[in-house]
Symmetry: C2
């Protein structure tokens, strides 16, 4: 049995939940509260599992894995269920690149530890934090929109079934709303997000429906 350590509001835990659901994988869950007790991710126990002191982390027997994209590709390569990565190597590369636009160049900039640093060292108030997050989210989602607009239209980002790209897109669109970023003009992003959220695998992974949710 897979044991998954996450947090309802973490984008990267949200990604993993969607992947578990799409593949129909059952797992045990431990909530790692990023705000309680000075951050439960900073305890020696959790650092032994992930020296980065970030969620998510996964255990299966003695095997331990971190980083949501690595976790999701590993699930796809080793577990049965719906395929989340295309068979074609060119298309697979495009799915990875799209996912990395979000996972490398958007999401890490809005991470809790980064916002805490901006508050502590640069006296950033909430408006300054919203502007900061808004800049990187808008840059990234505009790029996603351009990548999608340059392809033949499909129900999901890269075809007629959801892939890692959709798994990264939906939590990022959720956090765009959280940071009050106007993405109403991104027609492909919004159309695809709606198609994803109509699927139980995505809806059931939403932060507000998790056991540790406070929303």
């Amino acid at each position: 049995m897979i044991h998954f350590h996450g947090y309802f509001r973490s984008s990267s835990a949200y990604r993993c939940r969607i992947a578990f659901n799409l593949k129909g994988i059952e797992y045990d869950f431990t909530s790692v509260h990023l705000r309680k007790d000075g951050g439960q991710q900073k305890t020696p126990e959790f650092r032994a599992l992930n020296p980065q002191a970030l969620v998510p982390a996964l255990e299966e027997g003695d095997f331990r894995l971190t980083q949501s994209l690595a976790i999701i590709e590993w699930l796809d390569e080793t577990k049965p269920g719906a395929k989340l990565m295309p068979e074609d190597p060119d298309l697979r590369a495009l799915v990875r690149a799209f996912s990395q636009v979000i996972a490398c160049d958007v999401h890490p900039l809005q991470n809790l530890r980064v916002l805490d640093y901006l508050k502590a060292e640069f006296n950033a108030d909430q408006d300054a934090l919203d502007a900061w997050c808004g800049r990187w989210i808008a840059d990234g989602l505009n790029a996603c929109e351009a990548l999608l607009a340059g392809r033949p239209q499909s129900t999901f980002c890269f075809g007629e079934t959801p892939s890692l790209a959709d798994i990264c897109l939906v939590p990022q669109v959720f956090s765009a709303a959280r940071f009050k970023v106007d993405i109403s003009g991104l027609s492909n992003v919004n159309r695809i997000t709606e198609a994803c959220n109509a699927l139980p695998a995505f809806a059931d992974a939403h932060p507000k429906t998790q056991p540790d949710s406070e929303a």
Copy 2:
């Protein structure tokens, strides 16, 4: 023939150069100067190639690909030469996770556009920028050291041949020096970086030996 768009000092272009060299792949090169002409990556021509306006970008015929990790896995899956990803799916996942520690949680925070934002919006001076970069580089490389220390010792990060993990590590160690981060205590990181830099594939990819180098 592959056409590669990069910049000598970019960590992600540096990663791709190492991968090309390890696999023995020839390519045409266009330098995209990130500082000249207000940033050559921001031109309409380059944005048509990469809507993120970031290097690197790759073209082969009509196929276009961005994001260094996606590029390197694509090279590994579609081109002959040394294998950069392990065959074993668990080990492959660990290589990806290690690489993503750097490519997601360290490098994007020290990107030029981010430093420019800190200067413009938070009046950050060079000391503040060094402290900012130093925090994320130290966090990330300390995590890398812990991940390496938890494994049986090997010449490279995950075995006796270089993988994507080493390809990500070496440019990050280079930029640690650039931002004056003391990593002298990270014995595995330093030992492996030295082993990598002794190989022509790594040495020939160094920023200071590139055609567009200004170092």
